[in-house]
Amino acid sequence: MKKEYAKNFTPQEMIVVAGSRTLPDKKVVFAGTGLPMVAITLAQLTHGPGIVPVFEAGAVGPELSRGLPLSVGDSRTTYKANYLLGLNSAFELTQRGYCDFGFIGGAEIDPYGNLNSTMMGTFPDGYQKPKVRLPGSGGASDMACSCEQTIIIMVHEPRRFNEKISYVTSPGFLDGSPNARQKAGLVGKGPYRVITTKAILGFDEETSRMKLLATLPGETPKSVQDATGFELIIPSDVIEFEPPTEEEIRLIREQIDPKGYFVAKKIKE
């Protein structure tokens, strides 16, 4: 069967496709709310039928065939689950080492993959009166700490990619020093990929700084760097990410999120 590439797609659809393709089959994936749930479902419907989703509210390994969950704790996460207790059990499994990947989002990120989803403003002085208060950690910081690896989804804008972020909610490679995570007492390996509306990024093994791996359709290394508030490592072998196929876009639009709960959400510019 010849692959047909989609002719039009939105940045969120692109992010979902990229997220989906990043997930290997047969791995246990702890799903954050929003686009990660959409991407996992897409992966299950394409190359990863053996992906085992874990939801922080308690469901482990359900079939995601009862509609897109609107919450990581709603009834749609529980159908034919392989384990179903509560938040403690989900995070305990993670701390033990059962979760291969954590799949999370954030509002702000630094070069070492540390994420902020708590507040914009000055910290600690302005903590009790933030400029903008965000929803808070939820389970993202726990996933970032204790899943074996983390995949991060971000809207790619300069104001969200900063050398220094307002507040470290979810640890990445911390200050980037050798073994910083291990020294802090963390058990997981840390960030694996950052998937944005413009690129797929990884981290340099030596410096732990963010590194461009692939540009999404329509982007160049320069356009990605221009949209990033800190200097990226841009190696010579950056590839162009394969565009979404007609089938991927069809699945997202018709089957997974037809009402556009997460995928159609307008990205605030």
Partner: protein, 336 residues
């Protein structure tokens, strides 16, 4: 070190002195809130974001009014939003003093307007934790420990402002976090099924409900359906909360509406968006619509029955129809 709610020693003593006998704990929700929710209390809120939150209890607290509340929860949406809305309308009737939280928003339905309102205007004191942290803090308390270790989020900025302590593990010599127990004065829990003594059978994700309940000094339980004791104890492996943890049991169908209650109904998305939209307007300064909403659905009614009676039946039928959780099939007593 300071404790909010009860200290571990106070919590143990309170429970040791408590009558733990098996007795009929039914009462009205009004009486339960009068008896067990006081000004200044640390309130443990059950459910997760907008699923199985104790909305009926929260509405009753709003009707009665309480001051200087401390709210403790992992991830919550509607319950704190309703309380914050009451505060936005009239802080002399109801006020929140402090929140110990991991997440306050509505996932697919958007961020919390009134979290922004309260915090950006510095109207409440904040203590941020992760979901696992709050769940583990309730767990430590529920099992009689002053603290529990945790590996996350070591390295985060949360540790600079919350009460967790990082020590060197005496066994591995590596850093580890210790989380202080959280013993709320009262836990608010909604479940699908309970019996008159307080045994609860939760269906679907348990969230942190058993831990919050057993951590607290007193527990109010609302249930969609009271079932017979014999039916409850026929499947002891399915009892999620033993009767002696519970102080008040109230049958309140739709007690977590407009949220999702596994096996009973899905989200009433329309009503959530309506309420959230009014909260967003209130955040921006226009509180009239929110006030109208409270007058109509909370202050203008006596209870949850009168609240849901104002909603179109077709809407109720719709959220029941689209609920994919396993339907309940317990035997229950029919009382007139």
């Amino acid at each position: 070190m300071y404790w909010t709610g009860l200290s571990p020693d106070e919590a143990r003593q309170y429970l040791a002195n408590k009558d733990k006998s098996k007795k009929d704990k039914r009462m009205t929700l009004k009486a339960a809130v009068e008896k067990f929710v006081n000004d200044g209390d640390n309130i443990g809120i059950g459910g997760f974001v907008n699923a199985r939150q104790p909305i009926a209890i929260v509405h009753e607290i709003i009707r009665q009014g309480r001051k200087d509340l401390i709210l403790s929860f992992q991830s919550a949406g509607l319950a704190p939003e309703y309380l914050a809305g009451a505060m936005a309308i009239d802080p002399d009737h109801l006020s929140i003093k402090r929140m110990e939280l991991a997440y306050f928003a509505h996932e697919a339905f958007g961020i919390s307007p009134l979290l922004r309102y309260l915090t950006e205007n510095s109207l409440v004191e904040l203590e941020d934790w992760s979901n696992y942290n709050m769940s583990a803090r309730f767990k430590a308390a529920s099992i009689g420990l002053p603290f529990i270790p945790c590996r996350s989020p070591l390295g985060s900025d949360m540790l600079q402002t919350n009460r967790a302590k990082v020590i060197t593990c005496p066994f591995t010599e590596r850093p580890i976090m210790l989380l202080p127990a959280s013993h709320p004065n009262v836990a608010l829990i909604h479940v699908q099924e309970a019996d008159i003594y307080g045994n609860c059978r939760i269906q679907g994700p348990l969230y942190t409900c058993p831990e919050i309940a057993m951590a607290a000094a007193n527990i109010i339980v609302t249930c969609d359906r009271l079932i017979e004791y014999d039916e409850m104890t026929r499947y002891p492996n399915r009892i999620s909360l033993p009767y002696f943890a519970v102080d008040a049991v109230i049958e309140v169908p739709f007690g977590s509406y407009p949220g999702n209650c596994n096996g009973i109904h899905y989200f009433d998305e329309q009503h959530i968006q309506e309420f959230r939209g009014l909260c967003e307007k209130a955040r921006k300064g226009d509180k009239a619509g929110l006030k109208e909403y409270y007058d109509k659905y909370i202050f203008g009614v006596k209870n949850t029955t009168e609240f849901v009676n104002q909603l179109p039946l077709s809407q109720i039928q719709h959220v029941q129809k689209i609920e994919p959780g396993i339907r309940l099939d317990a035997g229950f007593t029919v009382l007139e």
